[in-house]
């Protein structure tokens, strides 16, 4: 008996039809539904290499061949009981041979259930499949790379940081509307951070994967953030349309996009990025320096798009009337500190600490010129806090 974990459902058809498992030594297995009942599902399972898994996905191998001729001569049956809890391990019971009925008929190609993959996108799709998580290929093409394969270290570092920062801000934006508990759960850095695992040979195409573990669909929170970035990146050649997207997503996300545009224009470094997730389509965008420059200028002229106005409800923990500094504790998101916005006319005199709940309208301002993971923001109180009665 071998213990394993169900990693992902490769194909759903009124329930899981084809699944991917990982055993205790991280070996991959595929399982095909052989029997379904209200008490549980039985699967026929065989070990599978990354290469075979990719061949299955791209339709280069028939499903029957995978099960009839496993690369390693091992076969197992798996029973997943009705009361199985997601995340718990399952037991692969070794079998001599499968019941002939369990094997699929010839001619079942998994590629029939996936989007068409262009030859140039094959690598990224394969990587997302094997790594079972969203994958990004970011290609930086600076002027120094035209004659020979080289890149200024600062350019590469800044490019990656700026790109990652847009994803971070996009993540904050898309999670803003979720409930407090979900927001707190998704706030961990691994939910928007990528980790580099390779480069394309002879270029500065950086290969990155989502840092957090994906769900059974192979999906991770990074995907929503990347889709948000796509909204504006795909319109970069139509400034009006891109500014419209910025208007609908104003705040730190726009600041981060503006910084990315500045980087591409200033370093004359076109950025092409592609991303996909297991079972997903490949999406690509190319941002050229001229287009980035135009968008940067348009966004810089509309400073209000970079400003984020937030409302806080909480009790003051500290108030310093003379300096205008304050700290408030909110029920949902903890402690926030800030100061009175210049020229706002707001005074902290007469406000009560600890016992009275106030609503505060603040401007969340990013520290300019700092684009790294420690980028900080400051809160500026825009209006006189309003006392509110909580039910």
């Amino acid at each position: 008996m071998t213990t394993a974990r169900i990693q992902r459902v490769l194909l759903q058809a009124d329930g899981p039809l084809l699944i991917l498992l990982r055993d205790a030594v991280d070996g991959a297995w595929v399982g095909l539904a052989a029997d379904r009942s209200p008490h549980g599902d039985t699967f026929a399972c065989v070990p599978v290499s990354s290469a075979r898994l990719a061949a299955l996905k791209f339709g280069e191998m028939d499903l029957r061949a995978i099960f009839e001729h496993p690369e390693i001569d091992r076969r197992a049956s798996l029973f997943v009981p009705a009361e199985w809890k997601p995340g718990s391990s399952v037991a692969l019971e070794a079998v001599e041979d499968f019941h002939p009925e369990w094997l699929p008929d010839e001619g079942f190609f998994l590629s029939a259930f996936g989007p068409d993959v262009a030859p140039e996108a094959r690598d990224i799709v394969e990587e997302a499949t094997v790594r079972n998580r969203p994958v990004v290929h970011a290609n930086f093409n600076p002027p120094e790379a035209k004659a020979e394969s080289k890149i200024d270290a600062f350019t590469l570092a800044e490019g990656l940081t700026t790109f990652q920062n847009v994803v971070k801000r996009a993540h904050a934006l898309v999670t803003r509307t979720k409930g407090a508990a979900t927001r707190k759960l998704l706030a961990a850095a691994e939910n928007y951070t990528f980790e580099v695992y390779g480069f394309s040979y002879g270029s500065f195409e950086v290969h990155m994967q989502a840092k957090s573990n994906p769900d059974l669909f192979g999906s991770a929170p990074h995907v929503e953030a990347l889709a948000k970035l796509d909204e504006i990146a795909s319109r970069v050649h139509d400034i009006e349309a891109a500014v419209e997207v910025a208007q609908a997503n104003r705040g730190h996300f726009v600041s981060a996009v503006r910084a990315l545009m500045y980087f591409i224009a200033d370093r004359k470094t076109p950025l092409k990025y592609s991303w996909t997730e297991p079972n997903g389509e490949v999406r690509s965008n190319l941002i050229l320096p001229d287009a980035a420059s135009a968008l940067y200028t348009a966004l810089a002229a509309r400073q209000e798009l970079s400003q984020q106005v937030i409302k806080l409800v909480g009790v003051f923990d500290k108030i310093h009337v003379k300096s205008g500094r304050w700290t408030v504790i909110t029920q949902e998101d903890g402690e926030f500190s800030g100061r009175v916005a210049q020229g706002s006319g707001v005074t902290l005199k007469g406000l009560t600490t600890s016992s009275v709940t106030y609503e505060l309208e603040c401007r969340d301002v990013l520290e300019e010129g700092v684009v790294n993971e420690r980028q900080t923001s400051r809160l500026e109180l825009l209006k006189q806090p309003v006392e509110i009665k909580l039910p």
């Binding site: 009124d14 329930g15 599902d41 499903l63 997943v80 009361e83 989007p115 059974l216 079972n279 389509e281």
Partner: protein
């Protein structure tokens, strides 16, 4: 819109349009949400649906075309051709089904 579903016979019966949740009220379903466990799996093309018949859970079934009208319920198509269908109780899926010749 037309979608394709594997059913036990033609004409199909009400049992052919039961969701996973209806068939397994206490079951945990792998890799799917409770919402999707209450949907029916249908497919964008008859070819995709016919491929399923090559596997044990679907062997011996046949493919029908279901003509979905605006009162059929809600659908969610995915890029792999799978169309999750939450059918409205007032909609008669049997009357909306037609046989797909092999």
């Amino acid at each position: 819109m037309q979608v394709y579903r594997a059913v036990s016979a033609f004409p199909p019966t009400g049992d052919d349009f039961k969701s996973q949740r209806e068939l397994g009220p206490d079951k945990t379903f792998l890799g799917t949400t409770e919402c999707h466990a209450r949907a029916l799996s249908t497919w964008a093309t008859p070819e995709q649906c016919a491929l399923l018949l090559k596997t044990k859970p679907f062997r011996g079934l046949r493919v029908v075309r279901v003509a979905l009208t605006s009162d059929a319920g809600a659908i969610q198509p995915r890029s792999n051709g799978h169309v999750a269908w939450w059918h409205c109780k007032a909609f008669d899926p049997i009357a909306a089904s037609s046989e797909v010749s092999e």
